[in-house]
């Protein structure tokens, strides 16, 4: 579903992605782990070209990423994205947030879009918040609304860029549960996260990044019990020590 080949990117002097080769098969859930600044968010954002790359190729569902323009907008409509900061449209209600894409991009009627939106909000457990504005919701509710907004486009693949990192601890679970449900339903997912529990429980593969490189690519069991590289051992030592 996603294929990255020899992808390189610099931010000025900083080499943020070094020769990235990564495939995510249809229906697969891949978790990307790594220390801050290892390039995992950039990798995630590169897949729908929120970050343009310097060289290499990225394919989604067999088609190479187009340059700016209508073709890119079309591709993005098939790739759901969930952000660390939710990024719900602040001037629209939760229902309107979920309806905007189907109406503007898919050309759905307002009533059809509303029905789908309510079903999706029901699914993530916040149908009763549909008429509120984002600022009136808790972080966990906002993130679940953001997931519903992405799902409303019926995407082929979902990208999660640290979806729980801006949440209070008691709200993390409600978002993770929504993601686990989605994974069980067979959605293709690439998840950048620090949630080791999710990586162990829901991922088919764990990709470990450090300094812009993919250092390990293994099943969760293998990665957590037998990491091969020193960098991964060091990382796991730090986060699992307590």
């Amino acid at each position: 579903m996603i294929r990255m080949t020899a992808v390189d990117k610099h931010f000025g002097d900083l080499h943020v992605l070094r020769d990235i080769n990564l495939e995510v098969a249809s229906g697969e859930v891949v978790v990307v782990l790594g220390p801050s600044g290892s390039g995992k968010s950039t990798l995630c954002r590169a897949i729908n070209r929120l970050e343009p790359i310097d060289s290499g190729t990225i394919e989604v569902d067999g088609a190479e990423l187009p340059a700016e323009g209508k073709a890119l907008a079309k591709l993005r409509s098939d790739v759901g994205m969930v952000f660390q900061q939710f990024n719900l449209f602040a001037h629209k209600t939760i229902a309107e947030n979920v309806m905007l894409g189907p109406i503007k991009v898919r050309g759905k009627s307002k009533s059809e879009a509303h029905d789908t939106a309510m079903q999706l909000l029901e699914r993530v457990g916040i149908a009763n918040q549909a008429d509120k504005y984002p600022a009136q919701l808790s972080g966990g509710q906002q993130q679940r609304a953001a997931i519903a907004r992405a799902l409303a486009m019926a995407p082929k693949v979902m990208l999660f860029d640290e979806p729980t990192s801006a949440l209070d601890p008691e709200m993390i679970n409600e978002v993770l549960e929504a993601m686990v449900t989605l994974a069980k339903e067979g959605m293709t997912m690439l998840v950048v996260t620090h949630e080791m529990g999710f990586a162990r429980g829901a991922a088919h593969r764990v990709v470990f990044m450090s300094d812009g490189e993919i250092v390990e690519d293994a099943t969760p069991d293998t990665f957590f019990s037998n990491p091969t590289s020193d960098r991964a051992k060091d990382f796991l030592g730090k986060i699992l020590a307590h």
């Binding site: 729908n48 929120l50 700016e68 209508k70 907008a73 079309k74 993005r76 409509s77 098939d78 790739v79 759901g80 994205m81 952000f83 900061q85 990024n87 719900l88 449209f89 602040a90 001037h91 905007l100 894409g101 503007k104 991009v105 504005y133 984002p134 600022a135 009136q136 953001a146 907004r149 992405a150 409303a152 486009m153």
Partner: protein, 220 residues
């Protein structure tokens, strides 16, 4: 006392007409410069370099030229290339073009105040640049730019006097000139009458803007 204001009371009908003339210039000017200025602002933030260049050039030229010079170009330059219209429309067009440069910069500051994440989210659900600007970014940007835009528009209302000084008749400033220089009425009472005419437009506009600002303010 009433005698002192005789130049105004005797010509009251003329003042009312002049007031309506100025009001009309102001309304056309406000609508035109808001629309054009917002369009130029969208050029300036466009992903297409040629559009950005046009926007930047527009602002650089029209923000930095005195209004009188811009008006001269419209009033005398356009007829020279074969475009003829009543003087009033050259005046309004000049005013709109000049003011649009300031509107553009106010709107652009509003666009920059909307967090980048909003536009990223809009693009990631498949909206094109134009759609994300018009449905997500601009509606939020316009909320923060009501106060600076209000100042720009009120300044434009007052600049309409310069259009009048250009010989467009039927508005407040040219009426003042006519009454004083052609008919020899005393300056101060006529000037006070004209000033009241402008204040009747600008002060309610200011109140209207305060109301608008409160109404569009949203928590985020």
């Amino acid at each position: 006392m009433l005698d002192y204001f005789a130049p105004v009371t005797d010509n009251f009908g003329l003042f009312v007409d002049a007031f309506l003339g100025t009001l009309m210039i102001c309304l056309y000017g406000a609508v035109g410069s808001l629309v054009l200025g917002t369009l130029i602002a969208s050029f300036r933030v466009s992903p297409l370099p040629p559009l950005r260049a046009v926007g930047t050039a527009w602002v650089t030229v029209f923000r930095n030229c005195p209004l009188v010079i811009v008006l001269f170009f419209f009033a005398f330059g356009l007829p020279e290339i074969g475009i003829n219209a009543p003087f009033l429309w050259f005046g309004i067009t000049g005013l709109v073009v000049y003011t649009s440069a300031f509107v553009c910069e106010a709107v652009r500051s509003g666009i920059n105040s909307v967090s980048a994440g909003q536009a990223e989210a809009a693009r990631s659900i498949g909206l094109t640049f134009t759609q994300s600007l018009s449905t997500v970014v601009l509606p939020q940007a316009l909320r923060t730019v009501v106060p600076p835009l209000g100042s720009v528009i009120i300044a434009m209302f007052k600049n309409s006097a310069i259009v009048g000084a250009f010989g467009v008749g039927g508005e407040l400033f040219s009426t003042f000139a006519t009454l004083v220089s052609a008919r020899g009425l005393s300056i101060i009472p006529v000037l006070l009458g004209v000033a009241v005419g402008y204040l009747l437009i600008t002060v309610p506009a200011g109140f209207g803007l305060d109301v608008l600002e409160r109404r569009v303010a949203v928590s985020r």
